[in-house]
Amino acid sequence: EDKVVQSPLSLVVHEGDTVTLNCSYEVTNFRSLLWYKQEKKAPTFLFMLTSSGIEKKSGRLSSILDKKELFSILNITATQTGDSAVYLCVGNYGGSQGNLIFGKGTKLSVKP
């Protein structure tokens, strides 16, 4: 059965800390791995990773994929209170319909 497992499930840090969120996956016909940030409502897209070892970066956020070991990490440096959210790791198992399988998320709380 396809699955995406994230760890930790929740994390509390202080502003300025660096955090690493983990994601392991078992996805048949794997096409890509995506990261989303979900605050109070809809998830917003962060990254899509398709190749191993190539870091995607956006400001203080970065992510990398290891297709051999079937995992990805999301790093956030110099965290701010606005980074508080649930971060979702998502496997794309391909097909013309582009279906996704979601992890349960890591809830990050950044304290001032």
Partner: protein, 112 residues
């Protein structure tokens, strides 16, 4: 630019009542459209997806149905709601050439 709308934002309905949630997308043609549900403490679960007008695929057997009467309109319905239908319903769109999906603001449904 593309925009996705969902309504209503919140809904409280009694058990046994009907349901109709609507989603529309602007700024793109022939998108793939998706309905997800996020129950408390659980990941997003894909309910339905559509690759074109009148084409609906169901991922899980349930009390719900979906329809796509127009290219950029996706409707989620139920004839009789159950308590277990409570949750956060998200509509999303994506293009088959990539794995990214973009989410609407969501509808929080409470069945009482």
């Amino acid at each position: 630019s593309q925009t996705i709308h969902q309504w209503p934002a919140t809904l409280v309905q009694p058990v046994g009542s009907p349901l109709s949630l609507e989603c529309t997308v602007e700024g793109t043609s022939n998108p793939n459209l998706y309905w997800y549900r996020q129950a408390a403490g659980r990941g997003l679960q894909l309910l339905f997806y559509s690759v074109g007008i009148g084409q609906i695929s169901s991922e899980v057997p349930q009390n719900l149905s979906a329809s796509r009467p127009q290219d950029r309109q996706f409707i989620l319905s139920s004839k009789k709601l159950l308590l277990s239908d409570s949750g956060f319903y998200l509509c999303a769109w994506g293009m088959s050439s990539s794995g990214e999906q973009y989410f609407g603001p969501g509808t929080r449904l409470t069945v009482t």
